[in-house]
Each structure stands twice: as structure tokens, then as C-alpha cells.
Subunit: 356 residues, 2 copies
């Protein structure tokens, strides 16, 4: 593959001049410029990004470590991250942790070795020393969706508290009293936070939340299935199951179906994270939607601010409840899907913060 030397020889100038043309430095004669450009064209020359990075000590690359690529929420996040990064002149390398701390660390290490300019992380566990050290050592970093408490790193996330309260209000209004939750790992912020929000909302409505109604999942479908089976085996099974992510909701649906039960007649179902397919499941699933695209874009902007020396900002955006039929309410006619939120029904006006 042709190098800058070849181009210089072909154009009859020095490598310095070639480099100047390529980085359009002002003081290059028109004559030299055209000769260099012609040589570049003739040789099909492309600058070696590896060499350039070594010299300039920047890769114009962002690392993104997410918990699970197979989760549509993260897929969408990854897409918006890449889009915004590209707009700002950066590439993105994605590392998929599959909810495994060891894999997460593997990817973080690889990315650090590659000297990425900055790191976007949605931590799988509460305290990877590797990540904490990297942050302290000055690696530009931003947490997205999940974060590690006690580390001085900006966090871009969405706050589901209000939406969870809306959900409980909705369920309460439909007459449900025994509500259960399939929680995510307590080691993740989203895992514990969603349970807390749920517990708080339940308390507001004077509803009990016995331990038996808090199932421990791991954000994967299989755990949703297992926990739901446990719920169904109880002497007094819950009337509603709220899954803390969309994959566990899928597992819950598997479990309910395996028993030959119907949603919502026999048991109601709701999920955190909205996905397009929820509109077409049997029945359509009530869910809490995050502004995923905006989250990804904000995270990239924060990280790039940090990298380029501007003060980065933490961002918290609200999630919102999208009511469908899986908890018992009659269906609304759905309007065409708007951009940011996948095809969905607006919560009925009466329900937004209608209570306390």
C-alpha cells in the first residue's frame, strides 16, 4: 500500500509538503498542491490512520461499552451514538459485555490499549476497578444509562421515576393491587433504581410490596421466564408483573404462555423500555419509553466536550409511560409512529400525574 513517501516521490516534493497538502495547511503553493493531489489520485493513496494516531496521539475514535447488543434498547442507543459521533468527526468502536463483568473489562482494556480518545460506558456491574482507575487516570469518560456511583464522571441517563409512578397509578386505577416486579441486577444502577421507584410509587398508593413479589432477574429473557414461573407458583400470585427491561418481559410472556394463561385476563404485564414490537405482541404491551436516541446523542456530545476541553454536562431526561392493553385497559386507536418514540399510544390525558 502506497505511503506518503511514494506520494512525495511521485509528485517530486518532500513528505512534509504532502502532509501539508493533506491537512490543508495554508502555506503550500498552488502548483505543489495540484501535483500532490494528482499523485494521491494516481497512486490511490490513503493516509495510514495508525501512523497518524501514533504521531498526533489522538485516534478520533470513541469506545462504547454496552451491556447487551441483543437488547434492542442498547442497539438503538449504539446507533444514535455512532450517528452523532460521525457528525462530530469521530468513529465508534462497540464492545458488547453481554452483562458479564469480565467481558466488560476485556473490552475496556482493549479499547484503552487502542488509545481511543474517550469512553462511553453503561456498566454491567457496580464497580469495575479497571473503569474506576481509568476514570481517575484521566481517560475522558461518560456513563450512559447506567453509572458507577462515587466516580467523578458525567452521567447521561433517563429518569423513570415519574413514569413508574404513572404506571402504578394506571394499574391502581384499573383495580390491580398485587403488583410484582422482575428486577435487574442490584449491582446496576438501573437495576436497583427501578425497584426503588416502584417501591416508592407503591407506598404512595398504600400498596404492600412483599419480598415474594420482588424477583431477581439479570436483564436477560431467561431470567424473566424463571422469575415469572416463581410468581405463578405462589399461593397468591400477583395480578401484575412489571419487568425492568424488555427482554425479561419477553421471558415473562414465554412463561405465562407456557402455562396456558392469558394476558391481561389472568395476569397483567408491563415493561421498562419500549420497543416497536410491543405494539404487535399479543396483547400490545404497556411500557415505559426512554428517549433513547436523545440519550445517545447527549452522551456523545458530553464526551466530545470533555475530549476537546470544554466542560462536559450530565444530562437526565424523563422517560414516559406508554399505555397499551397488557394491563387491561381497552385499546386506543394508534396514531402513526412519531420519530423518537417507536409506534405507541399516548397515555390518556387523565392519567398523567392524575394522582397525588
Amino acid at each position: 500500500m502506497a505511503s506518503i513517501k511514494d506520494v512525495a516521490a511521485e509528485a517530486g516534493v518532500s513528505v512534509a509538503t504532502v502532509s501539508r497538502v493533506l491537512n490543508d495547511h495554508p502555506s503550500v503553493s498552488e502548483d505543489a498542491r495540484t501535483r500532490v493531489l494528482a499523485a494521491v489520485e494516481a497512486l490511490g493513496y490513503r493516509p495510514n490512520a495508525v501512523a497518524r494516531s501514533l504521531r498526533t496521539d489522538q485516534t478520533r475514535t470513541l469506545g462504547l461499552v454496552i451491556s447487551d447488543v441483543l437488547n434492542p434498547y442498547f442497539t438503538e442507543l449504539a446507533r444514535s451514538v455512532e450517528e452523532e459521533a460521525r457528525a462530530l468527526g469521530y468513529s465508534v468502536i462497540i464492545g458488547n459485555a453481554d452483562e458479564r463483568p469480565d467481558l466488560q473489562d476485556h473490552h475496556v482494556r482493549t479499547l484503552l490499549d487502542r488509545r481511543i480518545d474517550g469512553l462511553l460506558v453503561s456498566p454491567t456491574d457496580g464497580g469495575s476497578p479497571l473503569i474506576v482507575d481509568a476514570a481517575r487516570a484521566g481517560t475522558p469518560m461518560v456513563f450512559v444509562d447506567r453509572w458507577i456511583p462515587g466516580v467523578d464522571v458525567p452521567v447521561v441517563r433517563s429518569d423513570g421515576r415519574a413514569a413508574v409512578r404513572d404506571l402504578v397509578a394506571h394499574l391502581h386505577g384499573l383495580g390491580h393491587r398485587r403488583l410484582a416486579i422482575i428486577a435487574g441486577p442490584a449491582a446496576t444502577t438501573t437495576g436497583s433504581e427501578r425497584v426503588e421507584a416502584f417501591r416508592a410509587a407503591m407506598a404512595e398508593y398504600g400498596l404492600p410490596l412483599p419480598d415474594a413479589y420482588i424477583g431477581q432477574g439479570d436483564f436477560q429473557a431467561e431470567s424473566g421466564r424463571r422469575v415469572t414461573e416463581g410468581f405463578l407458583d405462589l399461593a397468591e400470585p400477583p395480578e401484575v408483573v412489571f419487568a425492568a427491561d424488555n427482554l425479561m418481559a419477553l421471558g415473562a410472556l414465554d412463561a405465562v404462555r407456557a402455562r396456558g394463561l392469558r394476558v391481561p385476563q389472568d395476569i397483567a404485564l408491563a415493561a421498562f423500555d419500549d420497543i416497536r414490537w410491543f405494539v404487535h405482541t399479543d396483547p400490545p404491551i404497556t411500557a415505559i419509553a426512554q428517549p433513547t436516541g436523545e440519550l445517545g446523542r447527549a452522551a456523545v456530545r458530553a464526551l466530545v466536550d470533555r475530549i476537546e476541553g470544554r466542560p462536559p454536562q450530565s444530562v437526565t431526561l424523563p422517560a414516559r409511560l406508554v399505555v397499551r392493553r397488557s394491563c387491561g385497559e381497552p385499546a386506543h386507536r394508534e396514531p402513526p409512529a412519531p420519530e423518537e418514540f417507536p409506534a405507541s399510544v399516548e397515555p390518556s390525558p387523565a392519567m398523567n400525574r392524575s394522582q397525588t
Copy 2:
């Protein structure tokens, strides 16, 4: 960040010795080795992959350019690719083309500039000169799922011909005669191939396939919706709509639902590519499943063979029909989901190649 020089100084040896220890070269004294290792530990040294790549002319990185990350099929493919690559000691950088040739070329160019060791591509269009040139120039390359005809590059894909025939047999058996297809872009091999397979199967059953029943989609949900609306507007709408990928099936479902029609009573639906959610849609969707994981792994193996000087092999694996209720047959009880194929029903034995 500490460099190899710092380690050498700390350990009181030359950089050459440090390098030898790190790449465990045989002739290093036990004494030197321990001192170097101690220094590495003390400084928290990590080798700079950029510098190493520049010198060795290899990055131990594979590029993967896929057509659409938001498509679960490609997400799963990407995951299995990364997994296998990791097992073989390579990293993967994913480029998402969003079905746009310009974006595809952008990613290919970026990856080439980074001097990745090899490229896995699922081309968005039939003939990106950039890709063709790179292949001719000797860049190790393997096509996955889709390919560009006339280029001497191994192809790893699945053959859906038999499964499509099974599908048509199934539909014919259920009494359907007016079958329509939402095709993918003719510029993609999978786009045209699936239509051809469908056309051939229809011919076998003596069924006509009028042009009005061939809708032109682009593998995105929106096109599925649009095409389906067109079908429903026909004086004689089809009895079955077969979508050439899962996203267009989603769009088709949107369109059918918007008209207040029911699947399969008013119109039947089938899709190419199976995804977990198809089990829980209303109704569960009959689909053709590809062995996605195996495809990804085989592609990586072929590419790494090529990179490391072994002769690479093209691989073709069969897809298979998974019958559910969206075409009218009564449901079976579903067994627990096996590994490779997402939760699914086996086609009834009588249906496999039952005809002609």
C-alpha cells in the same frame, strides 16, 4: 501514560529486553524477566496497540460492515462474529450502513484507513467500486449473507430456496392461491434471490405471480407498510403477504392493523428471518429461520483463514421453515427454545418437501 521506555528505565534494562519479555521471546534471563514484570506492574504499563500495529503491520482487528444494526438478524450476526473473532484473538469493529451505499462506503474507507486485517461485508448494494477495488487489491475479505457477484471473495450465507419452497407448499396446502411478496432491493443478492426462490416455488405449484403482487421494499419497516397498503388497495388483494425480512413484516403488520384487518383471517403473513418476538406477536408469525450464529462463526473462520494464509472456504447453510399461526394453521404447543433457533415450532413432518 507510561511507555516501554519508562518500563525499561524502571527495570534497568533496554527497551529491547522489555519487548522480549512482553512477547515472551525465549532468550531472556529469569532475572531480567522478573524485574521487567515488576516494573510493568509498578507503572501500570499497557502496550500501545497503535505503535505496535504500525511496526508489525497488523492490527488483529476485523471490520464488519452490516446493512442495518437495528435489524435483529444483523445484531445477532454481529454478536456471533465478535464472539468467534475474540476466541481467535481478534477484535471487531462494526460499521452500520443503514442500507445506504454512501454510508457503507464511508465505513469501508474508515476501516481500510485503520488498516484492519480483514473485512467482513454484507453489501448494501450490488457493486460498490470501493469494495470491489479493495478486494482486487488484496484486502482479505469475506461476504456474509449478501455478496457482490463476480468478485473473487468467499461467501458465507444461507440458502433459503428449500425453505421458501416449503413455505409455498404450506400456504398452498392451506388453500391460499394469491400470494404476494414484499421484496428487498434488487441490488442486493438476498433481495433478488428471495423473489426468485419464491417465483420458482410458485411456478412449481402452478400459481401465478403477477407483477402487482411483487412489491418493492428496502428491508426497512416503513417500506413494508407502504407496500402492504398498496396490496390492500388492489381490486383483488392477495391472500398472503410474504415479507423478505423481519422489519418489513413489522411494517406489514402495522399496515394491516391500521386498516382494522386481522391476521390470518383477513390476510395471512409470513416473513424471511425469524426473531424471538415472532412467537409472541398477534398472531405468532410463520417465518424462515437462518442459522445466524453459525453463519457468523463460519464467516470469521473463513476470513481468519484467509488472513493467516490458509485457503478460505465459502459456506452455504440451509434455512428452515418455522410454522406458526399467521397463515392460518392451528397452533402447535411450542417446545422450549433450542440454542441456535429462537423459540419456534418445527414444521409438521408432512410438510417438509411433501410435494413434487
